[in-house]
Structure formats: structure tokens, C-alpha cells
Symmetry: C2
Subunit: 551 residues, 2 copies
């Protein structure tokens, strides 16, 4: 058994809190059914695809008395990227199931959806659960990225469950995984398999969010870890007064993480991809705007600052988006000739010669290292690996190039030195904050209550979570309610609508109201590390995003 | 006034603790003089250079009664790189001085030594001090890297002090800054200037350490921040099970930071530069050893791990050290021809043609990006910028190359994917841990007591600091006692001996005892974020390095 750190030991003893209804009634709380629901869009198409699970009522829990329930076996999987608190979802589910009936059993399927398909599981015990309470990571049963979407896979899942006598599966995942959970639920109902499917909203990216799911778990902890580090770097920037720090933040397409970190720390600039797309900003415009901020500060001897960059930025810059598409196409068509070229510079030249004029114009000003990444690093399908493009270095180098041009005529030379960072893995597996520890445990516990109520095709939900936990509302939301039709990979498919940053929303508007002042001054805010044991105003605050969205 | 985060607000109220003698007697504790001392080496030469400050007795404090003291004015500077707790040194000094006599004044000189030379200062007030208590960073008065070493500079410092009526200066810095403090103290005594000089041991690198100075401040906090992040990444590695993380850690030449983080987190490998130098390991040997660890795990489907790399590694690899020297020489001699070359590949070829055979052999297997860094990025003096070489990427790429070779004959292909990180700025300005908050405050307070005792040429010291604070021993150590002669930039100069990792010491030996098991298994230890408010065993533990060195 590996050595446990003192904090882990102390933290293992933390008993996560539950919404009042569950704290008082346990998983015996009764499911109170609301009105029938509709999908957020494309009602007709969604109803057709989910005839048995469409239109289910939303569920709130009301008091209920302990009752005898027949013993059940349930399964759980973690799906997709890690997020702080996954273990607590499982612990909440486990505790709820055991409270329903001490004979209940919970199987953890290993390595994500593939564990369910290939029947690789582990019976979870008190000892296992106890050793993972309030810990970060997904290492208890691990996760995986297999997509559960074909009928053949559904069939295998059904067989796996039948083999073990499992009558309920909890799928802990992001928008894609919950989309798949929705389809699986419909399949199993149609098959009359008697197997319930319940989803739980997981992702640090914060893009699984809607009227009923106020936030996905993990967003709180991950953004707090990143904000701690950004604050520390800001102190350094303000002490050394000689560097601009360009910090790229994980979060895939959506900019929720960058935005939340900006609200927490007050950087000189925070790029929001959704704004770039809405305003159709070119890379040159973005670089010029940042250069203006740098120059304005340099002229006032403030040769330092912090710029936050969302991971997905590059895909939102119109001309880079189409450049990448053309590059993928070009390289696919000329693969043999391209691969035969002796070195990277020849490859870059090869590409430059063949790009259409507009894309040539977009490609040429890029720094050499970025050109090399666009041309050199391709995935097994031959596509540009967008996620590996070091946008933080790209922006820093392009600003540097701008400053060099200005310095040719600037009476007092402008100073600009940069440091680049990328934060992602530092926060995805942090031990959950009190918020996430409680939220995750409550989601898992809610899932057990939905199982007890015999429901399928629901997502466990806790609402009103920007308020103290005794005001949280536990319930279940029909998965079909969050669906719409989208065009993906050449066909229309039903998916849970991904939440990008709402440019009219209060979080982004708060950035807009403040960013000019932050750009000019030194308004850094230092959140510090996540605290578990101190005063409530230090330990239990939700994210600014959540607070602002639910003022 | 920028917004204050809830943690900062709560933390501002923390009252750092003092060693018993200072807690009970304040700065009125009496200086008890020990036996005359000697420098650690080269006694004759050191004595000759420091005739007035050599051989001073070490000081311990004993009880003393409050007494009236004449009002004094003192100055303080922060010198060199940031370290957590610098503001608390100033706060401790301020509080001690005010306790001695409410009329006492403390001037903060701005931007490091240059503030003292150019007379840029700020009178520190209750309001200023209070707003920086227990905060990270050096932004209260900022730091600088000007070296205080010429007689002309000393003269200016003296004039600055005389202009303000300042009779004591506290220099908060690392080994170089305290070496300079020693020389300044001697100068001012010789000039009969009546200006005392007291040093304080600062540096996250942990390389200012000896029999009397158990650790420099900031090491505790910085290594705790890095260990938090490393632990989080380990959870991720153990959850995703598909990446090797190569993490470079700040710390200049010494490997204390990497070693401490390894003891905290139990990685698959931690390179210690001092061992590389002692065993004269070539880069190939290092890469081959790491490859063996990767391969052994890959064959057991453990396709993940964490490798810690000290910042200074590259300078300790014998053939790279001499390669860099030859490169600097070669480029200096052929600058015009070299600068005229059209691109990086031509420059690399130019260099390869001209290197001596042994260095050509060392240069050729390096990854292209590293060659480019060695050849392309040079400092204003034309030298290779060693600190910018991405050793973490170099090692990852060279292991990858090894694995490709092995895979040509391996029956089941070995998997190897890597992610690279560099942690430095994330920890240098973190808010100090309880340990550093107390230690720094105590050092500053001790400095005030040394000033009250009329001493000069001393470093403030707290010993026995691996024990609870009521057992800490406050005192003063003659700066000359830590000096020896070293050959630097072509001449013999007196310097404070830099402490590299002791390969016979308990911390390194603990790594040696465990590293084989850590390499093979999954023994990760997750320290978590610094806690300020929890149980003592979570909040107040010193580093493993300190604990092991003072068992």
C-alpha cells in the first residue's frame, strides 16, 4: 500500500454533505414527477429517435420513509477525461445503494465504457470505497475514451449486465458520454432488458451545462487549482516586473475555464474563443489587440503582465480554422511527395507554394515553430493535431515581432520578454474542493435515489448549488430534455447541446466590464491554494461563474 | 486598491510565531557570544580580506529585559530571485524595530541593491506592512539582480545611508547577496561608518545551507507547491495510464528542489545532477537508464510514469558541459560567417562540421529542437543560454528514439507517450506556508535583535527548525564563518560556499533506498495543496529534506 500523505489522511475523514432532502430521507426520498418535458430543440426528430424516453417528467425529491427494497446489483463507469471528484460520485452512489439495502452490490467497470462492453469489472467494497473518499483522480476504476454508440456495443453491454444480474448502470461522463447514455437507455427500454441507465455530469471544461445542470463536477476544483497557479505567477510578474506570462488553459472548445480563472485573478488579458468567433477576429487582430496592451504598459514601464488563452482558441479563429482544413486536404492529396521531402523547411516551402492565396496569407506570418507544428505533427489520420499547437508561444512570438517593428521608430525602446505555460494535467486530478466533494457525493447519492425510484434515461442533478448546501435541490432530469440534432461528421445526430460561453451572460459581461482596467493596471487577485479546513468563506465558495450565473 | 481574495483576507490575520526566547523577551533578548569562529576553509586568505569581521563569535540569544534604546533608522533590501516569505522577513524586522523603540524607522529600498546604490526608497508604515503580512512575492519593495560588489557601489551605499541617517541595513538574499553583504560589512567597519549589515538567508533553491543555516527561506513553500502539482499529475498519470510526464523543476545548479519533491511524491525517477557529476554519467547513460525503467514498465502494461529533472542538469553532464564551452568558443570565433547562414539547419550543419570529434559525437544524437536551442538561442554575450534548453523535452525525445529502435524487434510493441512540464514561477511567489511564515518572521525579528545588539557582519539564524517552533533557537552567525575562496571568472574570490546535494546525506540516501521500488511500482504519494488552517500534522510539517537532515 503506498504511503498516504498527512493531508490525504485528514481528508479521508471528511464526510461530504448532502442536500437536505437526502440528508434527512436518504435514498428513500420519493421521486415527485413534474410535467412532461420536451427536448431543447428538434422535438419531433428527438421524439422519433427516443420514443420510450422522450417527454419524461423532471423529478424533484420529496420526503419518503425507509422501506424494504429488493437487493439489486448496479454498475458504474467513468467515461472520458479525468475530473476532480469522480471517486466521490462513486462513494455517494455506493453509500446510497447500501443504505437502500445492505445486500446491494456495486460493480465498477474498468477503463471506461470498454469495461462494460468487454465485461471487465471489480466488485466495490467498503475497503476500496473508503480508501478513495475525497481523493482526486479516476484511478479507482480508471476511465476510457471508447464511445458507446453502436447497437452491437449496446447488445454487449446488455449481455454483460445480464451475466452479473445488474439492473442499473450509472455513467459518469461529459456531454458525449451522456448522449450515449441516453441512446443506451432507449435501447435497453426497447429491449425490455429491465436495466436502468442514469447519467452524471462530469467535465472540468464546464461545457455540460444548461438550465437544469448548473455546472458539471470538477470545474470548481480544476479552476481553483489553475487560479492558484495563475495568482502565484501574477505575484511573480508583479515582483520581477520583467516578464509577460502567456498561460494556456485546458478546456477543449469552450472558454469557461479561462473565463473563470480571469474572474478569479484579473489578468491583463483573457481571450475568449467564443468572442473571437462571434466578432470573426483574425489572428492578426488578436495579436494587434494584445500588442496594444503590451505597448501601453511598456510606455509606462509596466513591462509585465499575464494573458490567459483558452485551449481551443485556434479552432475559433476563422482563417486558421479554414487553413487547417485546407492543410489537411493538401497533405492528404500529396502525401507521398510530401513525405519524401528531406526536412521540415522543405515541407513548409512545399505547403506555402500550394496554399490558396488567402490561406498563404494566413500561414506566412506564423512563427517558424508553429508552421512546423502545423506541417510536421500530424495524427494517425494525417490531420493537423490542433491540440498540440502551442498557441501561447505563437501569440508571444507574434507580439514580439510586432514590438520589433515598433521599436525601429520608438524613441525609447519597448521591452517585451515572455514566459509560456500550459496548465491542464495539474488540475484534472486534484483532490476535490469542498464544493466538488459535496456536489459529487450528492450526485452519486441522487443517482442511487433515482435507481430506487426505478427511473431510467435520467441525469442526476443538484440545483441551486450556488447557495449553501442546505438549499440545494436534488432531482433527476430526463436526458432527452437536453438533446438537439446537430450535424457531425456528415450526418444529423442527436446530441446533448454543448454549452459554450454565453457572450450575453453575466460571467463574460463581468470580464467585459473590467478588462480595460485590468489591462492597464495591476489589479491582480491572488486566490491561493484550495483550503479544506478553514473558515467557510475561504473553503466553501463556489466559482464566480456559478455565482454570477445564479445571482 | 486591488480586490483581496478570501484566503488572503483570512491569512492576513495570521500572527506568525517566534522562537521562545524572542516571543518572551522581544528584541531585548541579550546576545550571548560564543567562541571566536573560523571560516569553513581558506582561513588565512579570508581573514586577510575581512580583517575587521573575521573570527567574530557566533551568537545565541538569552533572556534580557526591556530597556530604552535610542531611536534608529534601518534599511532593508530584497536581492535576487523571489522566494515565498520575503514580506514576512520585513514584517518581523519592522515589528522588532518598533518594539525596541516606537520611533524607529524602517526604509525599504526599491528594486534590490540598485535601490540602495541609487537611493530609491520608501518609508515603511503600519499600513504598508499590514497589507503584506503572510503574502507571497517581493512586490512590496521589489527585488533586483544588481551585484553589490565594487568599492564605488559601497561608497554610494554609505552615502545613501548617511543621507537618511540609516545605521543598519538588512540584506535579504541568497549566497551571492550574502557574500556581498559580508564584503559591505567589512567595508563599512573599515570606513568607521557606523552602519551595521545583517544578512538573511533567502532562496527557494535550498543551496544556501550549512551547519548553522539549516535551510534558506522559501524552499519549504516552493517545494510544497511543486509537490502539490506533481502529485496531481501523478494521479492523472495513474488514472489515464497513457503518459509519461517529464517535469523539470527550478533550482539552478543544485538538485535540492527535485530531491525534496521526489521524497514527497515518489516518482518513477528523479535525476540528481550531483550524482550525474559524481558518477560522470554521459547523456546516453542517463537516457538509457530512463529507457530501461520505461521498457520494464511497458512490458508490464504500465505505460505511465513521472520523471523529475533538476533545472541545472545539463551543466552537470560532463560531455555536454564541455560541448557548450566549445560551442561558445566556436560561435564567438566564427560569428560573422555563422550569422550570415540562411537558416537554422545550415547553422547546425556549420557547427557539426567544426566540432571536435568527441563533441560532434555528443552533439549529433541530440534532438533537432535541442540542437536548435544550442545553436540558435544565444545570450547578448553570444553564449548558449543553458537555462533555456528544454532538457525535459530532450530526455523525452531521446527515450522515444530508443524505444523506436527497440520496437523494431520487440514482439509486442512498447508504448511511450510523453507530456513535458517546467515548474518554477508557479512556486517562487506563493504565499508562505506556516513554516515559512514563521521562519521568515523569526529571521526578520532576529535581525532586529542583532541590530539592537549592535552587531554587523552577521546572518540572522534560526536553528533546530525541524522541531516545533517552541524549540527553535534564534541567533546570529558571522558571515565570514561561511566563506571560502573559489575560482570564479578567472580569479580567486571569497564566497559563501554553495551547498549542493550531499550524496552521503540522508535525503539523497533515502531516494537511493527507495528509487528502485518507485521505478517499478505505483507508490505515488499525493501531498495536496498547502493548508493553513487544519491540524498541525497537515499544516506545520517541515520539508522531508530538513527532517531527514536533522533526525
Amino acid at each position: 500500500m503506498p504511503e498516504i500523505s498527512p493531508l490525504q489522511k485528514a481528508r479521508a475523514a471528511y464526510q461530504p454533505r448532502l442536500p437536505k432532502i437526502l440528508a434527512e430521507n436518504g435514498p428513500f426520498a420519493q421521486a415527485q414527477l413534474g410535467e412532461p418535458t420536451h427536448s431543447v430543440a428538434d422535438q419531433e426528430a428527438i421524439q422519433k429517435l427516443f420514443p420510450d424516453t422522450y417527454g419524461l417528467p423532471a423529478i424533484d425529491f420529496v420526503p419518503g420513509s425507509p422501506r424494504e427494497t429488493a437487493p439489486i446489483r448496479a454498475g458504474v463507469i467513468l467515461s472520458g477525461g479525468q475530473a476532480p471528484g469522480g471517486h466521490n460520485v462513486i462513494a455517494g452512489l455506493y453509500d446510497g445503494l447500501k443504505k437502500l439495502n445492505a445486500q446491494n452490490q456495486l460493480f465498477g467497470f474498468l477503463g471506461g465504457p470498454s469495461g462494460l462492453i468487454d465485461d471487465k469489472s471489480m466488485l466495490l467494497t467498503d475497503e476500496i470505497i473508503d480508501s478513495y473518499r475525497n481523493t482526486g483522480g479516476f484511478d479507482m476504476i480508471c476511465s476510457g475514451r471508447t464511445k458507446l454508440e453502436t447497437e452491437e456495443q449496446f447488445q454487449k453491454v446488455m449481455e454483460t449486465c445480464q451475466r452479473h444480474g445488474i439492473t442499473a448502470i450509472v455513467i459518469i461522463g461529459g456531454d458525449d458520454s451522456n448522449t450515449n447514455a441516453c441512446t443506451l437507455a432507449q435501447y435497453l427500454v426497447a429491449q425490455k432488458a429491465g436495466i436502468q441507465v442514469i447519467g452524471c455530469p462530469k467535465t472540468i471544461d464546464g461545457d455540460l451545462k444548461n438550465k437544469w445542470i448548473e455546472v458539471s463536477f470538477g470545474f470548481d476544483t480544476a479552476t481553483k487549482v489553475y487560479s492558484e497557479l495563475i495568482g502565484n505567477i501574477m505575484r511573480d510578474a508583479n515582483s520581477a516586473r520583467k516578464y509577460w506570462h502567456f498561460i494556456k488553459l485546458m478546456g477543449r472548445s469552450a472558454s469557461h475555464i479561462a473565463l473563470e480563472c480571469a474572474l478569479q485573478t484579473h489578468p491583463q488579458a483573457c481571450i475568449v474563443s467564443e468572442e473571437v468567433a462571434a466578432k470573426k477576429l483574425s489572428l492578426k487582430q488578436i495579436v494587434d489587440q494584445l500588442t496594444d496592451i503590451v505597448v501601453d504598459r511598456a510606455r509606462r514601464s509596466l513591462n509585465f503582465g499575464v494573458v490567459l488563452i483558452p485551449e481551443g482558441l485556434i479552432e475559433f479563429i476563422p482563417e486558421i480554422q479554414t487553413l487547417i482544413a485546407e492543410l489537411n486536404d493538401l497533405l492528404a492529396k500529396n502525401q507521398a511527395a510530401f513525405d519524401a521531402l528531406p526536412d521540415l523547411e522543405a515541407k513548409v516551402a512545399f505547403v506555402e507554394e500550394r496554399l490558396t492565396p488567402a490561406h498563404k496569407e494566413a500561414f506566412q506570418p506564423l512563427p517558424a515553430a508553429i508552421k512546423a507544428q502545423l506541417v510536421g505533427d500530424r495524427d494517425p489520420h494525417g490531420n493537423v493535431q490542433v491540440s498540440k499547437i502551442e498557441t501561447e508561444k505563437m501569440l508571444a512570438e507574434m507580439i514580439d515581432a510586432n514590438i520589433r517593428v515598433l521599436n525601429a521608430t520608438e524613441p525609447k525602446k519597448l521591452k517585451f520578454s515572455s514566459q509560456c505555460h500550459f496548465f491542464g494535467y495539474e488540475g484534472r486530478c486534484a483532490a476535490p474542493s469542498n464544493f466538488d466533494a459535496n456536489y459529487c457525493y450528492s450526485l452519486g447519492y441522487t443517482a442511487s435515489a433515482l435507481i430506487a425510484a426505478g427511473k431510467t434515461g435520467y441525469m442526476a442533478s443538484c440545483r441551486n448549488i450556488s447557495k449553501p448546501i442546505d438549499q440545494w435541490v436534488a432531482g433527476g432530469i430526463p436526458l432527452t430534455m437536453m438533446m438537439n440534432m446537430e450535424h457531425r461528421h456528415g450526418k444529423d445526430v442527436p446530441v446533448i447541446k454543448k454549452a459554450l460561453v454565453d457572450l450575453e451572460g453575466k460571467p463574460f459581461q463581468t470580464l467585459v466590464e473590467n478588462r480595460e482596467a485590468w489591462a492597464k493596471g495591476v489589479d491582480f487577485r491572488y486566490p491561493g491554494p484550495i483550503q479544506y479546513f478553514g473558515p467557510a468563506e475561504v473553503c466553501d465558495l463556489p466559482t464566480q461563474t456559478l455565482a454570477l450565473e445564479h445571482l
